[in-house]
Amino acid sequence: MQETVNVAFIGNPNCGKTTLFNAYTGAKLKVANWPGVTVEKKEGIMKYHDAKYKLCDLPGIYSLTSYTMEETVSRNYILSDDVDIIVDVVDASALERNLFLALGLIELGKPVVIALNMMDIIEERGMEIDLHRLPEMLGVPVIPVSARKRTGLSTLMHAVAHHVTEKSDKPVHHHSEGSHVHKHHDELAMVYSDDIEDKIDALSTLLQEKYKNLGNYRWYAIKTLEGDKDILENYPVDIKFDDKNYEDEIINQKYEFIEEIISETLVNKDEKARKTDKADKALTHPVWGIPIFLVIMAAVFFLTFTVGDFIKGYFEKGLDILSGALPPALEKMGAGPMLVSLIVDGILAGVGGILTFLPNIFILFLALAFLEDSGYMSRIAYVMDNVMGKIGLSGRAFIPMILGFGCSVPAVMASRALEDRRDRIKTILVTPFMSCSARLPIYIMFSEMFFEKYAMLVAYSMYIIGVIAAILIALIMSKIDKKRAEHSLLIELPEYKMPNIHTVFIYVWEKVKDYLTKAGTTIFIASIILWFLLNFGFGGLTDNMGDSFAGVLGKNLVPILKPAGLGFWQIAVALIAGVAAKEVVVSSTGVLFGVANAASAAGRAAIFASFQGIGFGAVNAMSLMLFCLLYIPCVATIATIRREAGRKWAWASALLHLSTAWLVSTLFYTIASLL
């Protein structure tokens, strides 16, 4: 049994850790161009020269002090004994800032290899890094790589394999010698001033006496001197220095050393990064920033509806042919009428109907991928900071909300980047109001059926109403907890870049795969269950759906839904089923009315006729769309909220969404009926 080497990938946010991790492990974790994409620790296995390596991708951090949940994840893991070697991914195009974390990691005393990423960008800019001097000054190996172009990867693994056991080279010393000798100075890259070093030595001696087997006493001494809460609590020592702020002093001296490194290793610092400044002039303009953002979002949905619908036309034709040809073919194979009904009215109506919306979903995620990989995402936080401040949230909270247009589950998780717990909870509660891609089929189907010419306008309005609902609810919540806006936004704005085709491909493919999987699992099963519940009642097989299990259940809910204009048992059943996944509202409509090709023109006409038969008109349809927009997010989202915020908030979320949905659609229906 060979041993597994645990390799931790760590680095500043947005420096390319996940890209590197994907390149090694073949994983398809999400990559994008904004800080904070990775919020969870992810592991992967790779083999290199007969040895097994467990790679671990971590959320980005700026230092070894933690503020947010994701940073805590990284720090705790790095400090644990599970890590054999640290690969510090350093963004070469932002060397100065990245080296701060590097110095902290080297101080930890574990083997460190620096992966100098984004070397291609450095070259493009006409900059050079002295790759001989840099490792000399740091005392650890520095391997130039490009995670995106996959260069230098085997050299990096080679260095990892070697340095996991061997002690690193001694740094070549350049420090001006102090007045007297301190412990182990020749082994260290970062040496502080005499004043600080004396205290570090004194503290490590004390720590050594009091705590056996701590390992790297120097690191604990530095952290004690910095006043690190965790270390002070767990390893208190009785020593009092004057009240000077040693933490500032330590940070200052680290940066002084970094300035020295930069001046010796970075050649031709004159960067040509003016493109980003130019783009920012427009995109973060104090006046035009918000209108430009709104236009970009409008364009995203315009493309989703127009281009998506265009391709969808072909999918519908295919489904039409299939639903026409399938029953005779099945009968020929000897399938009984019951089985034919299950396959055609149950599965095909449910799953097939959902599949026709794939083009719209595809285009939506393609547009979102461009948005995320271009670097615009964190600008949105800046542009919206003022507006968000008015509702008691940081501009940072807008990023999860935008992600909510794709899927609420990752959006809720992205809220981890928020420091304040109350901000997190608020963001988690309002994010599901943003129309996720699962609600798209509902809007498309009902708006095309009942509003024809104005279909796109109606669908647009759903998105806008969702945003308004989110803002209003957040506003009400901030009134309740009386928290004043803090305007404490602090987010890195990465350079703009052309979205990477590979990254966009992974992003979109993963989402399309999710959608297909959902169609094949949740929606497939929901359709079958629904078919059974609709065709069987307390008296066994029934011809009248109204007497079936589902019918009886739906009828019981009619009085509650009546004020909202949704007092139809079929709608009640569809809404309950929709909690499994919101697309199920569409698929179950197909099953409920026994129309296999629900999305096509002919199928739509059949459903439309059935709707008119039960007295369900345009006003009811609008009310239904509003209800679907606002009511309980799907099971997956609720489960995520429970994991992120606890059971209490998961219930609160379900209740909040359900009551908002009922109130808004009832209000709408009441007013619309009066007109």
Binding site: E96, F100, D277, G389, H487
Partner: protein
């Protein structure tokens, strides 16, 4: 003066940070040490701004830009 009163297109030197400990520590770790340079690339009326610290762009909310005490205005130099 405070950074929030600064002008777009100017570079300042950091004199002090008057914020609660966690925010101050955070800014320090990003390289905002006393004597370091900070350039204002963009500014909104409400006081939030886009700045460059040690070669990296950051967006700061008004509370953050008000907490940074600066001096020594110069033309935006290439940082």
């Amino acid at each position: 003066m405070r950074l929030v009163e600064g002008k777009k297109g100017q570079t300042y030197t950091v004199k002090a940070i008057n914020a609660e400990e966690s925010l101050e520590r955070r800014l320090r770790m990003l390289g905002l040490t006393d004597g370091s340079f900070i350039s204002i690339l963009g500014k909104k009326r409400c006081g939030s701004m886009v700045v460059k610290i040690r070669g990296t762009r950051f967006a700061l909310g008004s509370a953050v830009s008000s907490a940074i005490e600066v001096g020594g205005e110069t033309e935006c130099r290439k940082l």
